[in-house]
Symmetry: C2
Subunit: 357 residues, 2 copies
Amino acid sequence: MIFSYNQLFEFTKGILMQIGCPEKDALLAADVLLSADLRGVDSHGVARLSGYVRLWEKGRINPIPQIKIVHETPSTAVVDGDGGLGLVVAPYAMQVAIDKAKNAGTGWVSVKHSNHYGIAGYHAMMALEHDMIGISLTNASPLVSPTFSKERLLGTNPISVAIPADKQPPFVADMATTTAANGKLEILQRKNLDAPLGWVQDKEGHPTADSNGVKKGGALLPLGGDREHGSHKGYALGAIVDIFSAVLSGANYGPWVPPFVAFLDPDPNPVGEGIGHFFGAMRVDAFRPADEFKSHMDNWIERFRKAETTPGHEKVIIPGDPERELEAERKKSGIPLLAPVVEDLKNLGERFGVSFS
Amino acid sequence: MIFSYNQLFEFTKGILMQIGCPEKDALLAADVLLSADLRGVDSHGVARLSGYVRLWEKGRINPIPQIKIVHETPSTAVVDGDGGLGLVVAPYAMQVAIDKAKNAGTGWVSVKHSNHYGIAGYHAMMALEHDMIGISLTNASPLVSPTFSKERLLGTNPISVAIPADKQPPFVADMATTTAANGKLEILQRKNLDAPLGWVQDKEGHPTADSNGVKKGGALLPLGGDREHGSHKGYALGAIVDIFSAVLSGANYGPWVPPFVAFLDPDPNPVGEGIGHFFGAMRVDAFRPADEFKSHMDNWIERFRKAETTPGHEKVIIPGDPERELEAERKKSGIPLLAPVVEDLKNLGERFGVSFS
């Protein structure tokens, strides 16, 4: 089933206003949430809307947060999200990073007391129009086991870096620090297919091809998959994201990060407030003239794009290419949603008196 | 064969002074180079000394560089290494980042016209004694093929992040953005063993278990190993390191990075100067009080270290643990060198009149 962007946007905005968000925040949050659907990260888009509503019902999301800077230096700040939607807190904090960069060359903002913030790439890309490099990190519910750990201690802790070019579209990396994102497992689960080894371990800590392994008490694996293929590196990357997002800001880290699903309660003895994010903005002309930088980025991108390929592949992909192409297509032709998601949204609409169809 | 740290240090310093380095620079470079041997990254230590000398013979290393800041803002700088040893240029640039952080909260330095800088971790760890987080990136000779590329377009482009703790030793990640570092392949080559699939592709771009595959015109693979296991993420990470190190500074990037081996000439049409590095320093008290941060880092480290393990493993390792343990041991018991390395160093000593034994 295909829905237009505008239809999903109005619906999302309507629901968020019904749970008490001011219109301005509802507009922004809908824009962030739906950028995931446009860019093909369907697991992080409108499919999560009822999850956010359930967190609000539990009192775990504050629809009218007083987001504020609680500490700062010329190039840094800590932002307290006051329990607001990450979809609103994150753009606020990224804007602080951008404003800092205007004066100090770079800006770096660590955020506490927030919630899930949609796709990492949205916030990193905010820097592009200012001729800045944008960086966006967040921690998340513990679903990932470090190398040699049976316990789940980290989230999928994504890293996004957006870098402007001139004639070429920007370079936009946006990746979980796991071998595969949870959304890819969900696709296999629906089709009743196995997962490649290296994605999941079972409850006992053994590698497994069971795509339901995480639901059965297992864990996602860090990028690399196993020690021989460098999973200690994926683990280190996820750990760095966790520390920058939460130990720097005063949010919860590691196994203490509150779960996204409302049916699991947060740890009764938290080590911080809410979940954490980390944002960076670097003015490219804090290093060299922006036109010089961007023309070399064009050269970088063109050289990589035209590289000779391995057998069976047509081109070398520049990070951000597939998402940008999908975004153009879905803006025009609409966003496909799965039947259970449509059902879920219809129920949500009926409950809050917001029409969905 | 085992050699004391002091013996190798005096020898290295002596050779570097013979090629014209001022004593102060020779002392620093020897310290950086040998930190690799102490920490078990044997491929990046004294075994490379004769490689640096061969580059000097070709006029590709300037022993008396005028290293200087060529552009700056409150939190950023570009450093021109003037063709000096990366072993000397990198600590200079990291110190600039640390000094910037003292005033602006953070400091970020991109470096051009440099050479190989030893292990990334040395420079990142310079931040620790200042209660700062240190970051160190560098590009390197193109030996790595991006996902779907037959061509080698990236170096092993490492990422190091050093984070201070209180009672616990610091968290120090130091990793190539490939599945495996070249040094690990060399170990397999000497033993005539195959490499695991996912480390190397052959000249035609097919996965191969041939541990000599790179020497035969193949390539190292980005962390992840293949698309199914997330090699596009390792490729993106290596690309980010390349862009921060070289496109920001004006160094050579991608396939234009000058090779470390002196028998291969640099590209006759360079896109920049020398190789590039990128350094960051963030004062932890630019975010929250340092004692608070460090005590939470202790808690983070202790929680991960005591996690329940997968079958057959004794403990979850904190990044930096193995290197620190080896460093303590090798400082006491000496540094083992392979016979061909010893032979090479003896020849170097005879040629320059510096005693080795």
